[in-house]
């Protein structure tokens, strides 16, 4: 063999039988091959084999199976971002003429997907409040309604929908349920009969703010039906990203519990402050969603929102005065982050809709990281003291 050929066909560093890596390697290879055509056509090869990384990849597959089990389901498709996962769940279940129910309390990009893009594809939508069960029942009863997209708790105002009621109503009317469960984490809500769970793996799953990813989790039958669309749309997760998320998952539970404990301590601290008008955190016993959240979830996550007794300018100045909290969106990473809710997450809503969604110009969302909670409280305290009236 000439050297020009050798460099494209390097000698194999073969592992002795039984000598395996402890951690799944990052399979960067785009293609997977077989020694003969016959071998590529066996049932095993067709059902569990790997061919092209856009379709499936061993590093990504391990991640899919792990997150599916955490969410009490048996299969999943991982994609490039949480929004790509939302789109996969939407396009996989809808066609022109259908109607989708979305909530005024939803995450802005989810609302934009339904309100701005679906009408372009010949679909209609209804936007109601996640607490308005009469309106939900009415919209579900509309024969055109095919799917409901919701969150629990909602982003950014931590509203807690009644999953049992919504799922029961949806089943009565054959409405497909798609729950963006990012805020609750992978280990919560699995016992509810939700058809599709969607997660931004960018958040708690990875947890280190260094990778983007998303996933749709459901039972095998649903994922099998969704898979050809995922392959065709090509919103593939990079295997390198899958590796980082799989690594992040190893500390998922210790992180999630710490995020939740610190968030509760901070919610309690804020609730006592005179500068704070209202705290939104389902873990707080005084929160209107607390009783329901306690029934539905094991823990409450690391995000909370609160209203300052302040003008918009004072609210922005408060956020700018924070030192440990960085001003930016996103959540679920080791660093604490703060965001002005109206500016970052509410501009697509009318003033009336913002009011229904509890979004004010004095509302702040904070994502609690893994810093020591005393340091975070001290930082909030110094910034609160700087609010000038």
């Amino acid at each position: 063999m000439k050297k020009e050929t050798r460099v494209t066909h390097p000698p194999e560093a073969k592992l002795p039988d039984g000598n395996v890596p402890v951690v799944t390697p990052v399979y960067r290879s785009v293609k997977f091959t077989y020694p003969t055509i016959e071998a590529s056509l066996t049932r095993d090869a067709k059902e569990g084999g790997f061919d092209y990384t856009r379709d499936s990849n061993p590093t990504t597959r391990e991640l899919e199976l792990t997150v599916a089990e955490l969410q009490d389901r048996d299969d999943a498709v991982a994609v490039s971002t949480g929004m790509a996962a939302i789109w996969l769940a939407l396009l996989g279940n809808l066609e022109a003429g259908n109607r989708v129910v979305i909530f005024v309390e939803s995450y802005r990009p989810n609302r934009i997907a339904v309100r701005r893009f679906l009408p372009k594809l010949g679909l209609d939508f209804a936007m109601v409040s996640v607490h308005d069960h009469d309106a939900i029942a009415r919209e579900f009863a509309d024969a055109r309604t095919k799917l409901v997209l919701f969150e629990a708790p909602t982003n950014p105002m931590l509203q807690v929908p009644d999953l049992e009621r919504i799922v029961t109503l949806a089943k009565q009317h054959d409405v497909v349920t798609v729950l963006d469960n990012t805020f609750a984490g992978l280990h919560n809500h699995g016992r509810f009969e939700i058809d599709y769970f969607v997660h931004s793996l960018t958040k708690y799953a990875n947890g280190h703010g260094d990778v983007m990813g998303g996933v749709v989790i459901a039972d095998k039958k649903r994922i099998r039906a969704l898979k050809p669309l995922a392959i065709n749309m090509g919103s593939t997760l990079d295997p390198g990203a899958a590796f980082l998320i799989a690594r992040g998952l190893k500390t998922y539970f210790v992180r999630f519990r710490q995020h939740s404990a610190s968030a509760l301590a901070i919610a309690e601290f804020l609730a006592k402050r005179k500068e704070v008008a209202r705290v939104f955190y389902p873990g707080l016993p005084s929160d209107p969603g607390h009783a329901l959240a306690r029934k539905q979830m094991a823990d409450f996550g690391g995000v909370l929102s609160f209203d300052l007794r302040a003008s918009k300018e004072q609210t922005w100045a408060f956020i700018d005065a924070l030192e440990l909290f960085t001003t930016t969106s996103s959540l679920g990473s080791t660093e604490s982050l703060a965001a002005p809710v109206q500016l970052y997450l509410g501009t697509d809503l009318t003033a009336d809709e913002q009011a229904r969604a509890h979004i004010k110009d004095c509302t702040v969302r904070i994502a609690i990281g893994l810093e020591h909670v005393d340091d975070l409280i001290a930082d909030l305290d110094q910034a609160l003291r700087k609010i000038i009236r």
């Binding site: 293609k31 003969t36 789109w87 022109a96």
Partner: protein
């Protein structure tokens, strides 16, 4: 600036913090804002909306295609899906090349037709067929040249002229030739689409896609869909692609020279009924291949005597050529569509798109050409 200079330098500026000559891999999902007031003053907030490593690749690819701007995506199919989503709505019509890649065909017939978009598949090797397929509500013409796997060519300038007259967008899948050999935007097309998985990466190490456009307005539409639907390229993939792109022209020069030599060897071989390579004088559209592109690429197909059985035997006998249906990488890849990629396709449909029983597709790599010819010769001798 020459192509190979742009290939090395476009889009990349030394890192202002460290002086690193290569763009760092910005793994960060989020970017700190200096204050609430100065939101987005540095251009980045969240990696779904934009990432500095990905942006560097976008700028490089836009420069190589002589386009205005570029968006990068998770795969080539994601790039196509973004073009569809940004340009087509319910009630619209699109004309697609009848020899388009299977994924394009499925995107149209299985997904977008469910959402009220109509499609006509037209013979893009004949501009008149494209013209006849147009309707009042046509918004997009999508062609692929050379086509996969038939290598049929579409006349980019002629089709773009028809599109312009009717104010319709013309998108070209330029994956097979890359901007090194063919620049659709210079020929009048509005959009050039790529699977960067192929020649840009070139090393079989990433999957990715790109959309290069001829106006800021189109770029804004693509970027909006990129952000809203989240089909982004990961920063690490962008970095590998940035590095791969630096050797694009020298790889392609060598790979297409190899392909020319192999095509000539095959054409003279008694077991081979037919060879199609745009660089052969016997290629039906050889004249067009010479005028609209500056090279012929590294993809070819040939028909072995003896149908399915002979094709299969050849596949099982090759040693250097790898059985895999990707293309554009440094490894030579060989496929027999009838038993592999198109095994589940109806025979009539296979004939319609020009896939015969003995058709073998070759993506010629960077190995020594004598080794490749020796490998093919020993495998052909076994038929």
């Amino acid at each position: 600036m020459g192509f190979s200079t742009k290939q090395v330098h476009a889009g990349v500026v030394p890192d202002p913090v460290s002086g690193s000559i290569l763009t760092p891999i910005y793994q960060s999902t989020t970017f700190v804002q200096e204050s609430v007031d100065q939101y987005l003053s540095k251009g980045f907030s969240y990696s779904r909306s934009g990432n500095p490593t990905v942006r560097a690749l976008e700028q490089k690819l836009a420069a190589l295609e002589n386009g205005v701007a570029c968006t990068c995506h998770s795969t080539g199919m994601a790039a196509e899906q973004v073009v569809f989503q940004a340009t087509l709505s319910a009630g619209d019509h699109a004309v697609i090349s009848d020899v388009a890649y299977g994924g394009t065909y499925r995107l149209a017939t299985k997904i977008y037709s469910r959402f009220g978009v109509q499609f006509t598949f037209a013979d893009s090797s004949n501009p008149d067929s494209v013209r006849k397929a147009l309707r009042d509500n046509t918004k997009l013409i999508f062609t692929e040249t050379p086509a996969n796997p038939t290598l049929k060519l579409g006349d980019i300038a002629a089709i773009s002229k028809i599109a312009k007259e009717r104010k319709i967008l013309h998108a070209v899948d330029n994956t097979f030739l890359t901007p090194y050999f063919q620049r659709p935007l210079e020929l009048g097309a509005n959009i050039s689409v790529h699977s960067t998985t192929k020649y840009f990466d070139g090393h079989n190490a990433t999957v990715g896609g790109a959309v290069i456009v001829d106006s800021a307005e189109l770029d804004q539409k693509m970027r909006f869909v990129q952000n809203a639907t989240g089909v982004i390229m990961s920063p690490f993939v962008a970095w590998l692609t940035l590095q791969g792109t630096k050797t694009l022209s020298i790889r392609l020069e060598r790979q297409s020279a190899n392909a020319q030599a192999i095509a000539e060897f095959l054409e003279a071989h008694p077991r081979v009924a037919q060879v199609r390579y745009p660089g052969l004088e016997s290629f039906p559209q050889h004249a067009l291949a010479k005028t609209q592109a500056s090279g012929f690429g590294a993809m070819l197909w040939f028909e072995v005597e003896g149908g399915v059985k002979a094709g299969k035997k050849l596949m099982d006998s090759v040693k250097l050529c790898t059985l895999a249906e990707n293309l554009g990488s440094v490894e030579t890849l060989i496929t027999h569509p009838v038993t592999m990629t198109h095994a589940d396709v109806e025979p009539a449909e296979r004939r319609r798109v020009g896939i015969t029983d003995g058709l073998v597709r070759l993506s010629v790599g960077l190995e020594d050409v004598e080794d490749l010819i020796a490998d093919l010769r020993q495998a052909l001798d076994k038929i």
